[in-house]
């Protein structure tokens, strides 16, 4: 469960099908699930649908999913699949698959084999940015738009798409402001709060999310900050485990910057709004996937991570990924090398998703790392 105060009210995310989504459905709204940040939520929203980013909210159970996927598959994907198989995700009216990684593809296939959702679309995202891959991706967005429109009888007009683009650009703008507050010498926002906000926003309309962020930012601008014992950067894949970040931060450190998939990496792009909206979306998204699933782009990821780490003045970085993640596991070697060469100590942690048994072990290692970088309790 995620609980935090925003504008005098308590923001709670207790469950996947939470009151915000429930109300949307009760009003007759339809919801489409997606998983990867390469999915242009603007398109979904412009079709009058609510984009819902698949998450597991720390669900540790995987028994049903283990009947389909193996124990050598990412436990986050298995945890999400579990929620599909046990009916938690039955509120979804459709699902958009992306070729993010091998685990994710297997998760989607098993989901569809078992649930047979009436709307299932495979958005094929190229693994590098180039003029020819951009052209292909642009075509993919066309196909998605047509499929959404035909299945949901909801034509995606350019004007609606532009409005949606503007809303989500507002979100991105607010997110950057939020990051600036995190990066202050006395941060006003913790890493776990930022993650909780992203989790809340990733099941909202762009407009509502931007408003949530605005309220939060205004509130925190006025609040006093506190100098942390250590300033950390957190790198890694899609993790929605707020509790883990809270545990890390409970040791006196603050995660002042991140390169997470449920985090800053989801807000890197800023599609323009002047030209053809699908062109803008295609280029905006494909140029801004700072994920190790992109090839020949390590240099870009390195620059982004180094630049962020320097700007935020971090004392150290933690690269946290789930066991069996080959993409992040392999990238972490290069990231550690390059950050350490720049004088930033790095701790690489491999763990199972939401495994309580891993928490003590991880805390011990984080504690030792904080002592190493001079921020120990």
């Amino acid at each position: 469960m995620i609980t935090m105060a925003v504008s005098g009210t308590t923001l709670e995310i207790r469950e996947v099908y939470d009151p915000y989504v429930r109300e949307w459905k009760e009003r007759g709204g339809r919801v489409v699930g997606y998983s990867c940040v390469a999915t242009p939520v603007e398109l979904i929203e412009a079709a009058g649908l609510l984009p819902y980013r698949i998450k597991a909210l720390g669900n540790p159970r995987t028994d049903l999913a283990d009947g389909e996927m193996s124990l050598f598959n990412c436990s986050f994907c298995r945890s999400c699949l579990q929620l599909a198989l046990d009916g938690t995700y039955d509120f979804l009216d459709g699902l958009i698959e992306t070729n993010g990684c091998d685990h994710l593809r297997a998760m989607f296939e098993n989901w569809q084999h078992n649930k047979n959702l009436p709307f299932f679309h495979y958005l094929k995202v190229p693994h590098f940015f180039r003029d020819d891959s951009l052209e292909y991706f642009r075509g993919e967005l066309d196909l998605l738009r047509d499929h959404l429109a035909s299945h949901f009888s909801a034509p995606v007009e350019d004007d609606a798409l532009r409005r949606s683009l503007e809303d989500w650009n507002q979100v991105r703008e607010r997110w950057r402001e939020l990051c600036a507050l995190r990066e202050l010498p006395e941060p006003r926002v913790t890493g776990s709060e930022a993650l909780a906000l992203e989790l809340a926003g990733s099941r909202m309309t762009g407009k509502d999310f931007a408003e949530l962020l605005s309220s939060f930012i205004e509130e925190r601008k006025k609040a006093p900050g506190k100098k942390p014992r250590a300033r950390l950067m957190l790198c890694g894949p899609a993790t929605d485990e707020v509790a883990w970040l809270e545990e890390m931060e409970s040791m006196g450190a603050v995660v002042v910057a991140d390169a997470l998939c449920f985090g800053s990496r989801a807000f890197m792009h800023r599609p323009g709004t002047g030209g053809d909206p699908l062109d803008e979306l295609a280029e905006g998204y494909l140029t801004s996937i700072f994920c190790p699933r992109m090839y020949k782009e390590y240099g870009k990821r390195r620059s982004y991570i180094l630049e962020t780490a320097r700007r935020a003045g971090v004392d150290g970085a933690i690269y946290l990924y789930n066991k069996f993640c080959d993409l992040h596991g392999t990238d972490s070697v290069l990231v550690r090398r390059d950050l350490e060469n720049s004088g930033i100590p790095v701790l690489v942690l491999e763990k199972e998703y939401s495994a309580a048994a891993d928490l003590g072990r991880i805390k011990t290692r984080v504690q030792a790392f904080l002592e190493r970088i001079g921020g120990g309790v």
Binding site: C74, R105, M107, E109, Y136, V333, V348
Partner: protein
């Protein structure tokens, strides 16, 4: 330094393997059983299993000696390539090599063949290189198939490629990632050919466009234009091998299967490394001739063919003797694996474009790229295995899972259910590793397969016989 790990100055895993492989020239044709036994007892235990796996059964002895002599010569060429002004490139086993043979200035060496040579020839079976990769911080969930070969590069000294080429982003993350990592780590160029997970005409057309771009990049890098005549020459040779492959496939249908089990491994190496070269045609021709002769004479190693197995994923390749030979002696015929299913389109040799079109189709439908890079991994995989099982008359499937292969491990339950539903074919699911015996030792593999064949396959066959 442990015994057997000693390397001469400038040597590494590959050089060591090549050095030991030179013993293959000690063998001539018509080698006696005594000579094989003597050689097997002369070498260290891991190599003994390789020697016996290749040479114990008389049916495949001459062929494997001939084949390994050709492979050794190719390795020597690889070692000389850079000093002869060629660029040495590493390619994964998922990339049809014939395109690269059409460049005079390139020498492609398949990463997994390098790993396989180290594992099956060197003392310690390449474990030191796997461990070296782990010491860099790489995750232990990577694929030993490529990581052992790559780590031997990174560990140095010895062979160093000029570039790394790969084509599995989106179809196999561990494969693509370790190749990209090696290029980033070594600071050498990398060339990428992505297959869109899109089987529509649009997806195929995009792949063709990517291929043209890929060729252009290679041309710019090497300074050599891909010549039409040279491409034709190579593709014609490649298609002579295709004709033989088709004959080989037909021979697999006979009962009992006249094709020795170890030929499955031989075919894999030929396809991954030698396709488009004359030696490939020569070796394949001999494989077909031997199998035809066995068919004519009704020869089969065991007293009877107990089971016809299709390996629904890939063979485990760290112990030829206890895998291929053991099954053959037990009367278990291996009909193929996922890497043995090839789709070769008709080819039009009239222009460079028409040949590249055919090559694009071959590469698009290349084993594993086709299934794991398919629009649906599970459906494409099960469709293709169903085809092979039916066409060759398999009784059962063995899934020798590899812990690195998250795509198949993530869909194996569906695959097993579907295969049973569609064809009534049972699948034995095992998880281990292609090149690292520490994951699941061969003793366990044998025990599981034996039980499966006794308890499931044989009983099922007997029940079927009773019914008829």
């Amino acid at each position: 330094m442990e015994k057997g790990y000693v390397m001469r100055p400038g040597e590494n895993g590959f050089e060591r393997a090549v050095g030991i492989l030179e013993m293959v020239y000690k063998f001539t044709e018509n080698v006696s059983d005594e000579a094989v036994e003597g050689a097997a007892n002369f070498v260290f235990p891991e190599l003994k299993n390789t020697v016996l796996g290749l040479l114990e059964l008389p049916a495949n002895r001459d062929l494997e000696i001939f084949f390994f002599q050709r492979l050794l010569e190719l390795f020597w060429e690889a070692q000389r390539a850079q000093s002869e002004g060629k660029k040495l490139i590493f390619i994964p086993f998922t990339f049809p090599p014939e395109l690269f043979w059409a460049f005079d200035s390139l020498f492609p060496l398949c990463t997994e063949i390098v790993s396989g040579a180290i594992v099956n020839i060197c003392y310690g079976q390449g474990e030191r290189f796997w461990d070296y990769a782990m010491s860099l911080g790489l995750p232990d969930s990577l694929c030993s198939g490529n990581t052992i070969g790559i780590a031997s590069l990174l560990a140095g000294p010895g062979l160093k490629p000029d570039a790394i080429v790969y084509n599995t982003p989106g179809s196999c993350n561990p494969n693509a990632k370790i190749h990209a990592f090696a290029a980033d780590y070594l600071g050498i160029p990398q060339f990428i050919l992505e297959k869109p997970v899109d089987e529509s005409p649009r997806g195929r057309e995009q792949y063709y466009k990517y291929l043209l771009r890929f060729v252009r990049e290679l041309e710019e890098w090497t300074g050599e234009e891909l010549k039409e005549e040279r491409l034709r020459e190579v593709m014609q040779r490649a298609y002579r091998a295709v004709d033989l492959y088709n004959e080989y496939w037909e021979l697999k249908k006979a009962r009992p299967c006249p094709v020795p089990n170890i030929f499955s491994m031989t075919l894999l190496v030929l396809r991954s490394q030698m396709w488009g070269r004359e030696e490939c045609v020569e070796v394949l021709q001999r494989m077909v001739d031997i199998s035809k002769e066995r068919l004519r004479k009704g020869e089969y190693t065991a007293p009877e063919e107990v089971a016809r197995i299709y390996v629904s994923y890939i063979y485990w390749l760290f112990d030829f003797y206890n895998y291929f030979t053991w099954m053959e002696k037990k009367g278990i015929s291996i009909l193929g694996d996922i890497l043995a299913i090839h789709y070769f389109p008709p080819i039009d040799y009239s222009s460079k474009e028409s040949m590249l079109r055919a090559y694009a189709d071959i590469a698009f439908d290349y084993p594993m790229t086709r299934q794991m890079g398919g629009e649906s991994i599970s459906l494409r995989w099960v469709d293709d295995i169903c085809y092979a099982v039916q066409d060759l008359g398999a009784d059962a499937c063995v899934f020798g899972g590899v812990h690195a292969c998250k795509h198949t491990l993530g869909t194996i339950s569906f695959f097993r259910r579907e295969l049973m539903k569609r064809l009534g074919i049972p699948t034995l699911v095992l998880v281990g590793d292609v090149f690292d015996k520490r994951q699941t030792p061969m003793e366990i593999f044998q025990r599981e397969v034996e039980t499966f064949v006794d308890q499931v396959v044989s009983r099922k066959k007997a029940a079927r016989r009773r019914k008829t």
